[in-house]
Symmetry: C3
Subunit: 273 residues, 3 copies
Amino acid sequence: MVERSLAEQAADDLCRIRENRPLIHNITNYVVMNVTANALLALGASPVMAHALEEVEEMTSLARALVLNIGTLSPSWIEAMIKAGKRARALGLPVVLDPVGAGATRLRTETARRIIEEVRPQVIRGNASEILALIGPLEGRGATKGVDSIHAPEEAAAGARQSAKALKTVLAVTGPTDWVTDGERLIRVQNGHEMMGRITGSGCTATALIGAFLAVNNDPLSAAVGALACYGLAGETAALKAEGPGTFQAAILDALYQMEENTLRAKARIERD
Amino acid sequence: MVERSLAEQAADDLCRIRENRPLIHNITNYVVMNVTANALLALGASPVMAHALEEVEEMTSLARALVLNIGTLSPSWIEAMIKAGKRARALGLPVVLDPVGAGATRLRTETARRIIEEVRPQVIRGNASEILALIGPLEGRGATKGVDSIHAPEEAAAGARQSAKALKTVLAVTGPTDWVTDGERLIRVQNGHEMMGRITGSGCTATALIGAFLAVNNDPLSAAVGALACYGLAGETAALKAEGPGTFQAAILDALYQMEENTLRAKARIERD
Amino acid sequence: MVERSLAEQAADDLCRIRENRPLIHNITNYVVMNVTANALLALGASPVMAHALEEVEEMTSLARALVLNIGTLSPSWIEAMIKAGKRARALGLPVVLDPVGAGATRLRTETARRIIEEVRPQVIRGNASEILALIGPLEGRGATKGVDSIHAPEEAAAGARQSAKALKTVLAVTGPTDWVTDGERLIRVQNGHEMMGRITGSGCTATALIGAFLAVNNDPLSAAVGALACYGLAGETAALKAEGPGTFQAAILDALYQMEENTLRAKARIERD
């Protein structure tokens, strides 16, 4: 079942992001800081990175959404994420978590679980292996090949629906098809291009963009769906111009910047299960 | 009043940077390390990043200029900046400070003020909100939207002139027009393109390039003006080729690399107030 | 003497990297994390970055090779490199070391020497100044201009052969010509382009790619030679399309992605001394 209402919502959200330029506070990994900041700027949002325990709460207080990403963890960063996350929740700000590499090491799996328990993010976005490591039945360790998925999104979709309900969060399992669920609705987003798997940080960028959509949309499911459709569509556009992953990186930022709301409305491939 | 002498100086500085390839020591933020290193290389300088307390003084001793940028602070990095800054001053090396996000959090405002007091940088470059947070009358907290300015450079220009005099430094307030002052002279640089606001690290890159110009020019005002004219002109050139911020990022590095000294001399738009 | 067998090996290795997508664990510097991850992805490998003492051993255990790079050191990162390196050796996984800035500061020289002694990497890749700082007769301090070489690779080649024998490692001295030696064989790789010196992280990327080749090839000398020929050839291809270092960065990733095994076999310029 095609979900026109979610495509409409995505286009409206994109419009609001560009009007309001919401400040998005990112506590993220070293590898992708530059690219996610640039993607947020290209989309129309205003990114800021800050991780010191001495300032994270203040910075979160200025922001409209908080993005937590565990891609290059260390203990002080974990405490900063928890601290910023709690402040965000106290202020009613939305939080999105990217459990990068959950399932690969105990530190990552446990940190993701701790953030989920203590912060209660509105949205958790990961690849299938990462989400399976968090919601079982995997053991939560050694189940992920570094940060790349060894499972198809479909393998995680059914379990994600149950877990989303239990955790009262939206789970977004991304891959060739993205699956997004709030425990009730289970939505498929078909936009995207395989070249997105050949650039580092495409998952992390999707998470950051979800942060921007959450900043202007109170419904976490439609915000996540909209961000994924928008980023996937940018990937499709970029692939038409790119000769490889290097030119693709530039082209996908151009495509986010140039994305017209009408194009997003028309070309978002969003289906309800 | 058009300032031809400053355009001449900018072109001469660019020539000297390429001849001498000065080593520029950067203690900067995670988001922009790659892009500022690439900009310095494209210009013709030799960048190095080092932040460990155990080595910053040694690295500064090898360099011709020091760039301090507080964009992703934490306590040990602050101490490293102070330590390197003091060594630079003891050696007579120029220092430029980028007070990223001053006004957004107390940590950033206080760190910027501490560096100014303890290191006495020759040049401080920031957007209008950052500079206003440092020189008043703003309270120095909550006055900046993350790292983006909420003030026009013009709002900061007059106060900057007074403060530059009091602080015995050059203040560069950048934005659609850049204002640079040493407390006596107040210079406007009109080069630049709005796309520079759509890529992360354009302000940080301007600061790094000021470091390169300071390495070959003993007059901090003309060094700052020259760097801003050069980078702004590169932005203008890049905008002619770019289709969005992704291709713009690549094109501005190309433009810095290809910048001819005669072109900079002819197209620098530098005016005295 | 042209070494066809090494070109054959390089092409075979490239094929195996793409078939197996080996996980490469990188503990590397902030400046190049993004670009080396992207280069590994473009080549066909699967990169992961992890540096926390709490997880490095687990992550190394999942990987097929370990890349250690001292470009932005601090004490906890040094311990993480040693810990991961020892685990790699205990597991029989190959390790490659990039002694970025050895010779510039005592911390870097001593850290590189400590890693060599405690981890015994299969391959060490550096520029001539870095390698000379490690193997003498330089004093090991102040001998390098930041991270740029002030020596030609030829100056280091003879000493490298002796040192490689003594250290039981492969030494790769890169520059306009790359020299690679295991103490017996001394190989020259002539691929490359001068624009590679105008982008940050080209040496670090070469090291990361050596990690990928080591993951599929038990002979460290031929793995290092193959990676350097492959990356150098990508640089040659990229230079044909680039207008400067910005477009070159994108083009070299495209070229790695598009590199055909037959092209590498035919155009690798590998000679035995």
